[in-house]
């Protein structure tokens, strides 16, 4: 695929916002689900994982976009993977240096950011074709969208599963924690519930639109 100059996208607010809502990597595209479900049993883990992914996403998108004219087409995937793996190694050691507890809680999932399809997808579908500025802004949007999704799951699971948020007690001691929320099945259920909520809102909006259209045609 050759890229024509006029395909360069203008940097607008939409470049950033797209990753938050319209093309949210988790809720809309269902990409990169492994860390989303695996490390969201507490809010702290979710924040750490989100920020780590955000950093790798932005850094690798920048580098891929800078080098996009130099990377031969045949070996582009391998090149992207090496770029991503480099930044992941950096993050891996930084987190290990900051907090060993956090590092142990996240387990192998820090290193597994390499195989997160959101990042490779951005490099292949966006950063390899667009200007550096557009790529950076798009990557930030995607990364923030990913972090928000992690937070959505992390807070709900920690609140229901342990009655706390970020370790602070929210419910009174009479609250019996839903242990299943911390366990693996809880991850599936909470993500399912979020998807259900978004789908419900979307369908209600469409119905309202239809009803409004029907009213105008009847009135005329």
């Amino acid at each position: 695929m050759s890229v024509l100059p006029n395909q360069q996208e203008q940097v607008t607010l939409d470049t950033f916002m797209r990753g938050l809502w319209e093309e949210n990597p988790v809720f809309v595209m269902l990409l990169g689900l492994c860390p989303v479900l695996a490390v969201t049993n507490s809010t702290m883990n979710a924040i750490a994982m989100g920020l780590a992914t955000l950093f790798v996403l932005v850094a690798s998108s920048t580098l891929v976009s800078l080098l996009r004219k130099m990377i031969p087409k045949q070996v582009r995937i391998a090149t992207y993977i090496i770029i991503i793996a480099t930044f992941v190694t950096i993050v891996d050691y930084v987190i290990q240096a900051i907090s060993l507890d956090l590092y142990n809680a996240l387990g192998a999932f820090i290193q597994l950011i390499v195989a997160n399809c959101v990042i490779l997808g951005r490099a292949e579908a966006y950063a390899s074709k667009q200007k550096v500025s557009a790529s950076i802004i798009n990557a930030i949007g995607m990364g923030v969208g990913f972090t928000i999704a992690l937070l959505c799951l992390g807070t709900v699971r920690e609140l229901l599963g342990a009655g706390t948020i970020l370790g602070y007690q929210i419910f009174s001691s009479n609250f019996e924690p839903w242990v299943v929320m911390i366990l693996p099945p809880g991850g599936f259920f909470v993500l399912g519930a979020w998807l259900l909520l978004f789908e419900y809102l979307k369908q209600r909006k469409e119905q309202k639109l239809l009803a409004a259209e029907g009213a105008t045609t009847n009135g005329s």
């Binding site: 689900l33 995937i77 998807l195």
Partner: protein, 193 residues
């Protein structure tokens, strides 16, 4: 002999890679819409995952550890996997066109399957030896295939049944997976370790 059997049972059922460890969810959600493709993906993954587990063990033991290059582990492993996938594709293309037609389209997807990299990293973390690494890889892949095929069969049934409108699509798939995960938690008393 007993410990090898334990590794197999524990990776296939008790610590299932998809439902308990949350590895390899992208293909689990992505290619489980039809039973046939799920079987193909399962076979391709089993082949690559077992090989990748052994190769990454060898790379770690005889290349990285003697040279003191442990910090390059992530890069090395992902490269080993990428090369292995490419190599498998080429060999399959030359030797068995039938198999290639069946599994060919799934092979590139395996590179970004985090279960493959996950197995390689967990092998190092849990200090498995050569045979254990191979078995661990094979067990993980067998567990992945088992769950993938079961899930695909269920999704085929779900699509023809009457699902409430907001549940349709990925929401019902997630909840089905959650129920499967609960069912697999029932195996947790099987191996005590």
């Amino acid at each position: 002999m007993k410990e090898y059997a334990l590794i197999l049972v524990s990776t296939v059922l008790v610590n299932n890679f998809v439902l308990v460890k949350f590895l390899g969810l992208c293909p689990f959600m992505g290619v489980s819409k039809k039973l046939e493709t799920a079987v193909g993906m399962g076979m391709a993954t089993t082949f690559v995952l077992t090989l990748a587990s052994i190769c990454s063990y060898l790379a770690n033991e005889y290349l990285l550890a003697p040279l003191g290059l442990e910090y390059l582990r992530t890069i090395t492993f992902i490269l080993v996997i990428a090369v292995l996938v490419q190599f498998t594709e080429m060999v399959m293309h030359k030797t068995s066109p039938v198999l290639y037609q069946l599994l060919g389209i799934f092979l590139p997807l395996i590179t970004t399957n985090c279960a493959v990299l996950g197995v390689a990293l967990l092998n190092v973390q849990e200090q498995h030896n050569f045979i254990e690494s191979g078995l661990y890889g094979f067990g993980a892949a067998a567990g992945f295939s088992l769950v993938l095929v079961l899930f695909a069969a269920m999704r085929e049934r779900v699509t023809v049944s009457d699902v409430p409108a907001p549940f349709q699509g990925s929401a019902i798939a997630m909840i089905t997976a959650g129920l499967m995960s609960i069912a697999f938690m029932g195996f947790s008393g099987l191996v005590s370790s």
